[in-house]
Symmetry: C2
Subunit: 337 residues, 2 copies
DNA sequence: AGACATCGTTAAAACGTTTTAATTTACTGT
DNA sequence: ACAGTAAATTAAAACGTTTTAACGATGTCT
């Protein structure tokens, strides 16, 4: 209710000048034992907490970093964000986490808010927009770090997974398990990671002696709010409209959510997994091992990702040069194929 | 790279004074058609974006609201937060979403950061701490809104679900399905919503002619990072250490995550759901209907919750009085019992 | 004893805004 | 032609900090 105390109030009560108070707080000048005590005491008594807006404005650097993800409700992003925030928290940096919901317009508005808030760094996770936004941020002197996506723009760091390679492992596993053909389910190929995966799929298909068949591949026409549900309907339709022999014997899905939706559809249409259809996903979200059957998937270590992102953020603030980091992926074999 | 332009730069270029620029931006004074144009032009040319820290400091009100949730990786919280943020975004309010990870110490530190950031409102979702933090915030003149939790402290709004009532429905459903006894799986009863549920369980037990049995109730000793996994081990241990007839025929779990962990354990121990054991959860997280079997659960509408929270936030900023809101719950019957 | 360095503190400017009262300019009605 | 008003603009203060240069006091070295 009462007015928030300021450094001025503290100074008054401690019988010193506001400069001194600031020095006590920040340790920017030698202070005698005695005034130290008095100031500390006053701070405690008034329950003073500094106003970071005022501080930032003067220091010309903010303690904010922005993090843009497609959806915060997706385990894949939220775990990554969560680790990142935990790390940032340790060094008293605040992160503004924002989901832009696959909306281009929203992404832009939100970026604008971040600019107003004067963030020094922006982490962009997996945005599918073109590079204009990134270029703009860089031009404004904001450090940009890309996660799970790369760019050719100079001056931005990125952390991505090695998407292409692991598909050979997945495919080989499917072949060994005896699946006679392998289809592919994916979101639209607008981000390079998804493109890489699809390319990996085609390459691995060939390498394992499978034939590429157009109608074994189902690529969604747009990003939807609910990947799971979308994939569910998509797959269901597909299963109904084709005879068994027109369908692949196994699927690789570009994310676990896609896989989960498909699994439900497959089940509902009366087929067995992994008997009638094998299926493998991407991400290894938490729920994967709790499914029935547990989902075989490619683990993308989001904890590691979060930590790397923080490392780069910190490095950036300290003036270190831009970096491109690659993270390994790992095939986790469970029951679904 | 180049210095961020300020209102001063804009003024200079437009050949007016900074006051005028501010008036143009905020519409706080009549401005001639002509200077309007010139200022707008200058803003565009310089690509000026106002610094909200400076603005907030002067206006003595910030455009920030803080939102504290236990974990952002939990679908239950993140969907709630997501809707809230969507609403806030529409009116250009930024929300600092923070997960405190069930850590008391972290909760306190984070609250402190929010104070520094000068938030006007803090939403606390489901915190299990005692009321000290809340009291403290209120004392500092910060509007506090509680979600999925209530308090006796005056001056704080809250939105909670009607937890007790719905258990009668659940229990009746289980009885009608012929389950001979009903157990209960829960996180520790430190928050009133969990207490309400448990109380509802006991009341409903009695009303339906079931006997309350100590060893049919399993209440976890602490909040764990991973509810699903925790519940999995817990249940597994339970199933192994007791003979079938010592165990209940159905379970009510205090959250879907708990239920999912238990389902896996039950499955792995060779039992069938809903045949050998029935199970029902709480929350209706997105994945619930994709499980095998699909989970019967009590839906708590998080979208509605998010919207209500925003409504109260807005009302608070506009000086409206405190409010206590109650949201209905709904039993969603699926396959697990 | 004088020059010099060190320590603790202060005064004042600066950061980028908004806001208020004051000022100028232009118009109105008599 | 004059006071009176309305419209547009400005000057300056204010917000809560940090930072810098300057200050006085005290001590040290020759």
């Amino acid at each position: 209710m009462r007015k928030r105390p300021t450094v001025k109030d503290v100074a008054e009560r401690a019988g010193v000048t506001i400069g001194t108070v600031s020095h006590v707080i920040n340790g920017t000048a030698p202070i005698s034992e005695q005034t130290m005590r008095r100031v500390r005491q006053a701070i405690k008594e008034l329950d003073y907490v500094p106003n970071s807006a005022a501080r930032n404005i003067r220091k010309k650097e903010s303690n904010l970093v922005g993090m843009l993800v497609p959806k915060i409700t997706n385990d894949f992003y939220s775990l990554m964000a969560s680790t990142f925030m935990d790390e940032a928290d340790k060094e008293n940096i605040m992160v503004m986490l924002i989901g832009y919901g696959y909306s281009r317009e929203r992404e832009e508005r939100v970026l604008h808010s971040l600019l107003e808030a004067d963030v020094g760094t922006v982490i962009i996770v997996n945005s599918f927009g073109d590079d204009d936004n990134i270029r703009y941020l860089v031009k404004r002197g904001i450090r940009v770090i890309l996660a799970d996506r790369r760019t050719s723009i100079r001056g931005v760091s990125s952390v991505e997974y090695d998407n292409k390679q692991v598909l050979f492992e997945v495919m080989e596993h499917l072949r060994k398990k005896g699946y006679g053909s392998v289809g592919y389910l994916s979101e639209p190929l607008t981000i390079n990671n998804l493109m890489d995966r699809f390319e990996g799929y085609r390459l691995a298909l060939e390498k394992n002696g499978y034939e590429y068949r157009e109608n074994h591949v189902f690529i969604s026409d747009a990003f939807h709010q609910n990947h799971m549900e979308n994939s569910y309907w998509y797959t269901k339709k597909m299963l109904r409209e084709h005879r068994r022999e027109e369908l692949p014997e196994a699927f690789i899905a570009s994310s676990d959510m896609i896989a989960i939706g498909a699994m439900r559809a497959i089940r509902e249409e009366g087929y067995e997994i992994p008997g009638d259809f094998g299926i493998a996903g991407f991400d290894d979200v938490e729920i994967s091992s709790y499914l029935q059957p547990a989902l075989t998937t490619v683990r993308q270590d989001r904890v590691l990702m979060g930590k790397e992102l923080w490392r780069l953020t910190k490095a950036g603030r300290e003036g270190m040069p831009v970096e491109k980091v690659h993270l390994p992926q790992e095939l986790i074999i469970r029951e679904s194929c």
